[in-house]
Amino acid sequence: MTTALAMLRILSVGPGATLQDGGRHGYLRFGVTAAGPMDPLSHAAANLAVGNPAGATAIEVSVGGIELTTERASLNVAIAGGEFALSLDGRPLPTAVAFNLEEGAVLKIRAGAGGSWCYLAVAGQFTMPKVLGSHATHTRTGFGGANGRALSTGDRLGIERSASSQPSIGAIVAPWLDRPLDTIRVVLGPQHDYFANHQIAAFLAGPWTVSARSDRMAYFLDGPRLSHARGYNIVSDGIAIGAIQVPGDGRPIVLMADRQSTGGYPKIATIIGPDLGRLAQARPGAVFRFAAVSIAEAVAARRQEAALLARGVVVEPLVRSHFSSEFLLGLNLIDGVVGAKA
């Protein structure tokens, strides 16, 4: 292990790219939302692929994309998330990949075939100060990340490197990251008793379309208008991540990573932990339905996801058939790759 200070330099970036770690926990009672990744499973996979803890700080890239390079030292990086289009010095890469980013090499991440969020993890630690113990960016309150804001062109992010160069470029083998939207599981409540049974049935049946009016705070859903049986103003109470609140206009809002900590609309249901990242990856226009599950089923799904991550992430060296020999030679890794197995 060697350590050196590398600088990630942002050459260009679309809106909505932020630094996110596992979240700012412990301050909800003071009104501080955890923030953290929109798709925690992809965020964890990228981190594990470079040897980081699952909740380490990484760059969350939106469909706005990003283009960056490293200065002073090379960096081991890994990218996982939606099906984004990646390239290194103009040559295409697989959508989930780990490699050594050489000084001056240009990595581009752009929106691809699907997905709304993609994570770039680096082997090492970001050096900017934490806010309340976390790098998670919450732009509405200006907490964390790069001075509390989204990344912008010209930003230089210091990284205390934690590993020497990785010998080969490899694909992240995590088929479980490919999660179709179709059905999103919910636990009904805490205020489903504000809705008549036929309204709960209408809520589950949908179908729902992710609205263009969606961001890290909330995804708005288009579909049947729901009506309340007991009014739509409740005395404010806590809001869990994934809560689906139904305001007076009857259009459900899913509260995501940057949600407010408390609120005064009835919450008809809460999306189960393992399904929230899957919904987060949906793009505006995507159509799905809800299915109600028991707490036991939700916990079983959570256990399954935890077991996947506990097994770790396999990075399999790319073989000649995936890429032209010119490309592999260009990366200076041909010797280490031919015939290699993970």
């Binding site: 926990h25 909800l28 805490p190 005395v235 806590g238 809460t270 916990v299």
Partner: protein
């Protein structure tokens, strides 16, 4: 004993449990929330992550792979059986507040709606003692009960443009102090130079649910002076343990 009434246990997904003591903004209901919150914080069950007291319920965030719902409810029930009436363990605060219209942007509008003078509002607002029901919506923001009847004003139909950090407002029969610049549906009747939230301060958050609060009127010159001191890290509110 007030705590003997069984609360409702509501699920906010598989990782958060709502312990609901009522559906109203009511000091007696809030007492139960705060008593349970204090008991849980003093002896947190393994697997419990965060406790979020609000007006009428306590949200318990938990790791369902470490503690199951039934086990958590059993612990909550056992704790409640052992609890005495909440006597208030909070800190008493006096928060300097400037009611000069230069900062109290809505004070004249509120006075017009309430049929009071500006001076009436200041007198009523500073005479009262407030309970901090909860924190929330934004970091360090506090919601206050105990607003005198003549100051009970409905919220605006549509929000007003963003106010300054430290805005002291009334609305919906309640009070609030908001340490962030943001739009609001409440009426801004003053501003405190104190920073309820300061990341770099040892206690990042000054005030929490269950604390008691009064406002001390200050003029604009004093406000500017205290604002500078607060910016340099001083705490300009005064406090006294309960």
């Amino acid at each position: 004993m007030i705590l003997q009434a069984d609360p409702r246990f509501l699920d906010a997904g598989e990782a958060a449990l709502v312990v609901e003591f009522g559906d109203m903004v009511d000091p007696a209901v809030n007492d139960r929330v705060l008593a349970l919150d204090a008991a849980l914080r003093a002896d947190p069950p393994a697997g419990a992550r965060e406790f979020v007291p609000t007006y009428r319920s306590l949200m318990i965030h938990y790791d369902p792979l470490r503690i199951d719902r039934a086990g958590l409810i059993a612990i909550v029930r056992r704790m409640m059986a052992g609890l005495a009436e909440w006597r208030g363990g909070g800190t008493s605060w006096t928060l300097p507040c400037c009611y000069d219209p230069a900062l109290a942007e809505d004070i004249d509008e509120a006075a017009g709606i309430l049929g009071l003078t500006r001076d009436d509002i200041v007198a009523l607002h500073t005479k009262a003692t407030y309970r901090v029901y909860m924190c929330g919506f934004t970091p360090g923001q506090i919601y206050l009960g105990g607003v005198p009847e003549p100051l009970k004003i409905s919220r605006r139909a549509t929000p007003r443009p963003p106010h300054a950090a430290g805005a002291v407002s009334i609305g919906g029969g309640l009070g609030t102090v908001v340490p962030f610049v943001m739009p609001t549906g409440w009426y801004v009747i003053g501003q405190t130079p104190e920073r309820l939230y300061a990341a770099e301060r040892k206690d990042a958050f000054l005030i929490q649910a269950g604390d008691i609060l009064r406002f001390d009127p200050i003029d604009l010159a004093t406000f500017r002076n205290l604002e500078q001191r607060a910016a340099s890290g001083d705490i300009v509110a005064s406090k006294r343990a309960a």
